[in-house]
């Protein structure tokens, strides 16, 4: 079983696919769930406090906007932890959408720098591409270590 970082990290479809093949998806849902299930709810809606942009300084300098650093405090640790990654480029907003383009550029850059198995795909534009798209993800996940 491998820890697979997914991009867009908000994609429930991608997260579900990773889980179905026996791996652990590293996604927004997991990071956000951990926060909002923590006792006390001081900083709605995501329970991200002004401390997160400071933690984000590990990945982005102080002149980088606070929204980027706050996001990196969520995604940075997952990128550090992941053993494999799936990146879907130009995904449809309905497939998974991450709000800040600058953060997205930094996330995909950092993932691509890692020496781990990666699947770098474009989002399909028609049914035929869609079938190939799912098959490629299946092949990648099956081929990962102890995956099904």
């Amino acid at each position: 079983m491998a820890k697979v970082f997914i991009y867009p990290s908000t994609s429930l479809i991608l997260s579900d696919l990773v889980a179905r093949y026996g791996h652990t998806p590293l996604s927004s849902a997991v990071a956000i769930r951990e926060r909002i299930q923590t006792a006390g709810f001081e900083s709605p809606p995501l329970q991200i406090t002004p401390e997160e942009p400071k933690k984000g300084l590990k990945w982005a300098a102080v002149e980088v906007p606070s929204g980027v650093r706050g996001r990196m405090a969520l995604y940075g640790p997952m990128i550090g932890e992941c053993e494999a990654a799936i990146i879907i480029n130009d995904a449809d907003l309905a497939f998974g959408c991450m709000g800040c383009a600058r953060t997205n550029e930094l996330i995909t850059f950092l993932v691509r720098q890692k020496d781990i198995p990666k699947l770098d795909l474009y989002y399909p534009k028609n049914e035929e591409e869609g079938v190939k798209f799912v098959a490629a993800i299946k092949r990648f996940l099956t081929g990962l270590g102890e995956g099904k």
Binding site: L46, T49, P50, P53, P65, S66, G67, V68, G70, G99
Partner: protein
């Protein structure tokens, strides 16, 4: 209980910067309710495309779609709050364009803000208060004439001012530096009443504004306690006799600066800057001390100098003052240094704040710093327009308060 003012939030990043809670708190404190306008995914794709600003960040695309939904009436709101991360170029472009778009195409009051993780509800409070006031008290803000006998008090960060008005005329004034908030307030009120030859019990209504408005307002049983953005706008157009049509109000204060785009005396868009002391009246105070002149003499001194002859390498109040000291040490004249200080403040306000509002003539400069003619001249040069400084401009907040307070006079 009065229903809350519904403030639509168009933003990118506050949730991830840990400041969304601060926005909620600031709005709640002035009986406002923040909400995100609901739009469908198909609306986002269509509206973003129609708007034509090809940004990459999906949250900004969503903000654009939400703005269109507000302007086209698909979502109801009383006011709009636009916020993006400080230092994000893409966010700044969208923030500006949306503010402009909403201002031009609807009657919704708008405030835009760029936040950092250090933004607090206190910083946002005056802006939120102004938004809710404009939305809730349009009838009060439509008042064009003062009636009866009213007292207005402006408890500012640097100075406290009071005026007594009777039948649309100023009949007494009081002014002094703010030392102890309550005592300074009582002193200026006494002075204004004495000058007006009016007894306290003859005053029919009282209004307060400025940083100390809540404290003083409670102490003197004010009928109206109001932030300075709406009050100063009202005072400015009243004193300049420009109550109808567009105007731009610039108030460079002791602690923060206000730039307000006004239509018929009611603010449409506005900005408040308070991060850098180098762009404030404080810097001019320090300059005058260093030059050994009273602040009242700084303006005439600056008018005799030429700002371009003194290099100012920093906007910071500490390093900016150092630049001026260095200039004096290398032989620059006091006149040139005074002019450079005025130019520096005007330039900062121009670059950092006036880009955020739509400058429409007449441009009215108000507040104590509007009496520094070198500053007014520098601002006029930058804006390429003749700046109007209305009479009693240093009492603008007190006059606005006295004017609006007359709406609270009871017939009995």
């Amino acid at each position: 209980m009065t229903p809350p003012v519904r403030i639509a939030q168009l933003s990118c990043g506050p949730e991830y910067s840990g400041v969304q809670q601060e926005i909620y708190i600031a709005a709640k404190e002035v009986n406002g309710e923040i909400f995100y306008p609901d739009v469908a995914l198909k609306d986002v794709l269509r509206d973003f495309d129609i708007f034509g600003l090809d940004v990459r960040s999906p949250d900004l695309k969503l903000a654009i779609a939400r703005a269109k939904a507000l302007v086209e009436g698909r979502v109801d709101a009383d006011a709009v709050f636009i916020a993006t991360c400080f230092r994000c170029a893409e966010g700044a472009i969208v923030r500006n364009e949306l503010r402009h778009y909403i201002h031009e195409n609807s009657k919704l009051p708008v405030v835009s803000y760029s936040f950092t993780e250090r933004t607090t509800s206190g910083t946002l409070l005056t802006r939120m208060e102004a938004l809710t006031t404009i939305a809730r008290r349009r009838a009060l803000l439509a008042r064009e004439a003062q009636q009866g006998i009213t007292l207005g008090l402006d408890s500012g960060s640097a100075t406290t001012k009071a005026v007594v008005m009777k039948d649309n005329k100023i009949i007494g004034t009081g002014w002094q530096p703010t030392i102890e908030v309550l005592k300074s307030a009582q002193d200026v009120i006494s002075h204004a009443l004495e000058e007006a030859d009016i007894k306290r019990n003859e005053v029919q209504a009282v209004g307060t504004t400025g940083y100390g408005r809540f404290l003083v307002g409670k102490e003197i049983n004010a009928d109206l306690i109001q932030e300075e953005l709406t009050v100063n706008s009202k005072g400015a157009v009243f004193l300049a006799d420009r109550q109808h049509g567009p105007a731009t109000v610039i108030d460079i204060g002791g602690m923060d600066n206000k730039a307000i785009s006004v239509m018929d005396g009611i603010p449409g868009t506005f900005t408040m800057g308070g991060i850098c002391a180098g762009a404030s009246g404080r810097f001019l105070e320090m300059t005058s001390k260093r030059l050994g002149v009273e602040i009242t003499e700084l303006g005439p001194l600056a008018m005799k100098g030429f700002a371009g002859r003194v290099p100012m390498n920093s906007y910071c109040i500490v390093f900016g003052t150092q630049s001026l000291v260095n200039a004096l040490a290398t032989g620059s004249t006091r006149e040139d240094v005074a002019a450079a200080a005025c130019h520096s403040v005007a330039e900062q306000v121009f670059e950092q704040q006036l880009q955020e509002v739509d400058i429409k003539e007449p441009v009215l400069m108000v507040g104590g710093t509007s009496l520094i003619e070198g500053l007014v001249f520098a601002m006029g040069e930058l804006l390429q327009t003749k700046i109007v400084v209305p009479p009693y401009s240093q009492y603008i907040g007190a006059v606005g308060s006295a004017l609006l307070a007359s709406g609270f006079i009871r017939d009995d």
